[in-house]
């Protein structure tokens, strides 16, 4: 030890024992922490492990000092899986992930369940917490004299868990879509006056992965039209009253107008756009629908058909 002090070589952390130190205590351990088996050769020494490194009457020299749960706070979807970890750090600095003796629990198993390995699964929308307890590992105490025996951890860690709905599909609310009235010269509500063709006002409801409506005003519908847009852009707002950047409180939104109003009759059903819709929620984009639209007109102004070949078929 004296040689170690005299060498004045700092350890990997830069710590250095001052050269004037003549007495003290030290804990020797391997790179792996207290669980490593190491050999110590003593040429000549007097040592007392308990007096040197433990406090009071406690016979436990090392133990846990910090507890945490990873991730700290998170959102997850219904039926989604997420791994939770109990993290225990000892006084020596060694960290343990899910050490033996850990028991996980959920604050509300109807919202989220957690198995013995820390695997969590969302069950229903809501917020609760998950936690863990540790029964058979000692905690670190400098003075254990107040304990009848060396203290063991019985702690809870926890993390707020929010299980939410994720946008998965769009339900057509208006079926068939509302057909706009013939427009005027300003084209403020449909086709320009005298044009042929048709435009429609589509109303959608955002559905989650279980087909249930998502009642949220925080969803941002966006569309990508290859050849027209450079990536996704907001569907709203538009000139049509009721369209906005975000969904209404009930999770519905307008996609209006959709259609084509050429200045000449086009009597054959003709493709005019492929529209991919995604919902932006909490910074994450969820693809929910793709429409391939075709249209045709009659020989009457503002008369025709718009269809996606599936659930949108509007004619007048």
């Amino acid at each position: 030890m004296m040689s170690l002090v005299r060498s004045q070589v700092p350890d990997p952390s830069g710590a250095l024992i001052p050269s004037n130190i003549a007495t003290g205590s030290a804990i020797l351990s391997g790179k792996g922490g207290e669980t490593d088996t190491i050999s110590v050769a003593l040429a000549s020494s007097v040592y007392n492990v308990r007096n040197a490194t433990c406090g009071g009457v406690c016979s436990t020299c090392n133990g846990a000092t910090e507890f945490g749960f990873n991730p700290a706070a998170y959102d997850m979807a219904v039926l989604a899986w997420l791994q939770g970890d109990a993290q225990v750090t000892w006084n020596t600095g060694t960290g343990y992930i899910n050490p033996s003796g850990i028991t996980f629990s959920s604050g509300n198993t109807s919202i989220v369940t957690i198995n013995s390995g820390g695997g969590m699964q969302g069950q229903a929308p809501g917020t609760t917490s998950v936690s863990f307890s540790m029964d058979d590992s000692p905690i670190y105490e400098l003075d254990c004299s107040n304990y009848p025996y060396c203290p063991f951890a019985n702690i809870g860690g926890g993390a707020p868990t929010t299980v939410g709905q994720i946008p998965t599909s769009l339900k057509l609310v208006t079926a068939p879509p509302t057909i706009l009235q013939q427009g005027n010269n300003n084209a403020t509500n449909g086709c320009p006056l005298g044009n042929y063709g048709i435009e429609i006002d589509i109303d959608y409801q955002v559905l989650d992965q279980n087909g249930a409506p998502i009642a949220s005003a925080n969803m941002e519908p966006q569309e990508n039209i290859p050849g027209v847009t450079t990536g996704y852009q907001d569907i709203g707002p538009s000139r049509i009253s009721g369209t906005s950047t975000f969904t209404r409180a009930d999770g519905t939104f307008d996609d209006a107008p959709v259609g084509k109003c050429p200045p000449v009759p086009v009597t054959t059903l003709t493709p005019f756009a492929t529209q991919s819709i995604q919902i932006l929620l909490n910074g994450t984009a969820y693809p929910v629908r793709t429409n391939s639209y075709s249209y045709s007109t009659t020989n009457l102004p503002n008369h025709g058909t718009v269809t996606n070949g599936k659930d949108i078929n509007a004619s007048q």
Partner: protein
């Protein structure tokens, strides 16, 4: 009446483009980079022989661009022969670009500077009184849309 001769319009558009670029400053906005693709789609005929400008999705996309559409139009039209038959689609692009000023994403593109210059230049391309009237109506529409927006958003 179809016209197919090259017009001094091209030269004036080029000059206008420099004026517009100088007034817009050195940075290239999102709207300007997006506008070229959207305006290209608007001024391209589909398999039905109809300009993309009559496609509602193009119109919706244009409504986010404002003045940037006219910058892109100017670049596009410099190399084209402008016929009277083309002008309604051009006017529709301009009109749709100011259809919903609140939707224009880049605030710097709300003021119709290049747009009004483009319309003035366009009025020199045709002698058709009906089309000239449409150009005038479009200019008035753009001005009124911007004025209405400015009234409702004095801080913007």
């Amino acid at each position: 009446m179809l016209r197919s001769r090259r017009h001094p319009f091209a030269a004036s558009l080029i000059a206008g483009l420099f004026i517009a670029a100088a007034s817009l400053g050195p940075s290239v906005s999102w709207a300007q980079t997006t506008a070229e693709e959207t305006v290209q789609a608007a001024m391209t005929k589909g398999e039905d022989g109809v300009y993309g400008a009559y496609n509602s999705f193009v119109a919706r996309s244009l409504s986010r661009l404002g003045d940037a559409s006219s910058v892109a139009l100017t670049k596009l039209l410099v190399d084209r022969l402008i016929a009277d038959a083309d002008i309604p689609a051009i006017l529709l692009v301009v009109r749709d670009s100011y259809d919903s000023p609140k939707s224009i994403q880049d605030a710097a593109e709300r003021q119709p500077r290049t747009t009004l210059y483009l319309l003035r230049s366009l009025s020199q391309v045709t002698k058709n009184p009906k089309i000239l009237a449409s150009i005038g109506e479009t200019a008035a529409y753009v001005k009124s849309q911007y004025a209405a927006y400015s009234r409702n958003h004095p801080d913007k």
